[in-house]
């Protein structure tokens, strides 16, 4: 029978024996901690990608020539504007600058709030610049010219901005050597979602070379990538979980072996088999749910406050070390982790608990 007295008593007995549960608590917390951290990181990256995608228009159009990307010129914009259902078409400039000293490319992106002498860099980029003694300003070498810009601000890196330098559009054209009327790509704003697919089909008819990427396609590309990685990880993790639950079952059985006398005492004062099983179920519930919240709390701190050292390297490679994960707390993901870990935990202690409860009670009579 479940009532407050019974619950209090279960907790008292549990606190008395907390040492016995410490082992499973720590290991189980660690297992949940790893899986939650991985999911936090991948959810956060995915969220960042989707948010930035949502800030772009509904369709992205790039130009190609002979299979290679090629700047798109202003005529395209005017023609696409004629397509019915299109609200606006915006030309965008971006590209890569070859930082030859360190044999790497920086992404150049446009931020029109900047003036002709300043730039904003991500913290990852800033770390690299510092190594080459560029602490306040940086020189871009372009054919026949040198552009010097002040570093106005250093921003946190996220998955998209980690190797990016922001400059205004004119400077970007200079660095990337693009003509006035050229753009790297254009984004199309389509207010009515149902029209996106139709418009995406019309554009290649006007420009056979155009590469058209509607947002839902990019989104499902992201999704597929993350489902795939997440799924493989989860399948591997099942092996870890199963080994843990076998371990847990043995450990609990061993611990319960030493508790025979106590159970016999409880039986002698009127606890039924059902009551003992319930008592053990409550205690294990407290341990499992306790580890669950404990682990989630620490993995939140680990990923979003400490920036997930070690795990980040596995995810992103060591170069992108300054990336900050945007904090998210997705209830559905937490529900998933709960089902994945707590339910099998409880399932694996059912049989040991019952065995303990039906143990021969004659010991108590000696």
């Amino acid at each position: 029978m479940l009532n407050r007295n019974f619950l209090n008593f279960s907790v008292k007995l549990l606190l008395k024996e907390k040492g016995d549960y410490l082992f499973s608590f720590i290991i189980f917390s660690f297992i949940i901690f790893i899986v939650t951290s991985v999911l936090f990181i991948s959810e956060s990256i995915k969220r960042d990608l989707l948010v930035s995608l949502a800030n772009e228009g509904q369709i992205i159009v790039k130009n190609s020539k002979g299979g290679r990307y090629y700047p798109i010129d202003e005529n395209y914009i005017d023609s696409i504007l004629q397509v019915s259902g299109v609200d606006d078409v915006i030309g965008k400039v971006d590209g890569y600058y070859n930082f030859a000293q360190d044999r790497r490319f920086f992404k150049i992106a446009v931020d029109d709030d900047l003036n002709d002498t300043s730039m904003v860099v991500s913290s990852d980029v800033y770390d690299i610049l510092k190594e080459f003694k560029y602490k306040k300003e940086f020189n871009f070498f372009v054919p026949n010219n040198e552009i010097t810009l002040q570093i106005k601000e250093v921003i946190d890196s996220n998955i998209l901005s980690n190797n990016t330098i922001f400059v205004n559009e004119d400077i970007a054209r200079e660095i990337l050597q693009m003509d006035e009327e050229d753009y790297s790509y254009v984004v199309i704003l389509v207010p009515n979602e149902d029209e996106i697919e139709n418009i995406a089909l019309k554009i290649p008819k006007i420009f056979p070379d155009a590469l058209v990427l509607p947002n839902y396609e990019i989104e499902s590309d992201y999704d597929n990538l993350f489902y795939y990685k997440g799924g493989v990880f989860m399948i591997l993790y099942i092996v870890v979980l199963i080994s843990f639950f076998i371990l847990l079952k043995n450990q609990i059985s061993a611990v319960y072996g030493t508790k025979r006398k106590e159970i016999a005492i409880l039986r002698s004062i009127g606890f039924s088999i059902k009551d003992i099983v319930l008592l053990k179920f409550i205690q294990n519930n407290i341990v499992a749910v306790g580890s669950y919240f404990f682990a989630i709390f620490f993995s939140y701190i680990y990923v979003f406050v400490l920036g997930a050292p070690f795990l980040k390297d596995i995810f992103l490679g060591e170069i992108e070390s300054e990336i900050v994960f945007s904090p998210i707390l997705d209830i559905k993901m937490l529900f998933l982790v709960f089902i994945f870990t707590v339910i099998p935990y409880l399932a694996s202690i059912l049989i040991p608990s019952w065995k303990l409860a039906v143990e021969d009670v004659s010991e108590v009579m000696k």
């Binding site: 029978m1 009532n3 007295n5 039986r267 002698s268 009127g270 606890f271 088999i273 009551d275």
Partner: protein, 224 residues
């Protein structure tokens, strides 16, 4: 009508195996309300087995135990446990308290199965502690008690649910002379409270007590 009626009771361990052992062989006994019964016999004579069967703690191989007219030996575990919780108070030789809990928690442990309110529970606790003369140690841990105090704590636990039957299995075996005599005083109190008490013992201190209603000698699983 008798409160407890035992009919032709047998308990056989490891039935059909080579190690078969007959712990009880045809026990008949009837006890009226408020009677105190002392079962005497050496260890291994079947006293403890008999007590555990009366408490519906284990089940007989054949025979009947009627308590208040109900055959408790066939009750499913849930009913047997409820019966034990409400009607039986157990006092053991080795006290059988739960280590690491306070006197109060130990005494209250049978009550966690009831859904009584806090007031009733506290009242019952007071009465039980008082009867067993242990109220001054209420909040002490079991580990800090002497043997006699542990015994009294166990008695308080046996009384807390106000059972009508008290079973004592070698209650004085772990006590010194002084504490054993104190136990006899408590036995008298039980008599005043009109409880049935069944004491299984081989201690001579229980011999020829004026308030004991019945003495039975037991040997090899039979009354002699």
């Amino acid at each position: 009508m008798s409160k407890i009626t035992i009919n032709n009771l047998y308990k056989i361990y490891n039935e059909g195996k080579e190690s078969e052992f007959q712990a009880l062989r045809g026990i008949d006994l009837s006890i009226k309300d408020g009677e105190i019964v002392v079962i005497k016999g050496v260890s291994g004579s079947g006293k403890s087995t008999l007590l555990s069967l009366i408490a519906a703690f284990s089940k007989p191989s054949s025979g009947k135990i009627l308590i208040d007219g109900e055959n408790i030996s066939k009750l499913p575990d849930i009913f047997a446990s409820k019966f034990r919780n409400e009607k039986i108070g157990f006092i053991f030789q080795s006290f059988n308290l739960i280590d690491g809990l306070s006197v109060k928690d130990n005494v209250l442990s049978p009550m966690v199965l009831t859904s009584l309110g806090q007031d009733t529970i506290n009242k019952r606790l007071k009465i039980a502690l008082n009867l067993a003369n242990i109220e001054h140690k209420e909040n002490q841990n079991i580990a800090d008690l002497s043997g006699g105090e542990k015994q009294r704590c166990a008695i308080a636990r046996a009384l807390v649910n106000n059972p009508s039957i008290i079973l004592a299995d070698e209650p004085t075996a772990n006590l010194d002379k002084e504490n054993s005599l104190k136990f006899l005083e408590i036995l008298k109190k039980f008599k005043e409270l009109k409880k049935i008490v069944i004491v299984a013992t081989h201690d001579t201190i229980f011999d020829e007590l004026p308030f004991v209603d019945k003495y039975v000698d037991m040997s090899d699983g039979k009354f002699v």
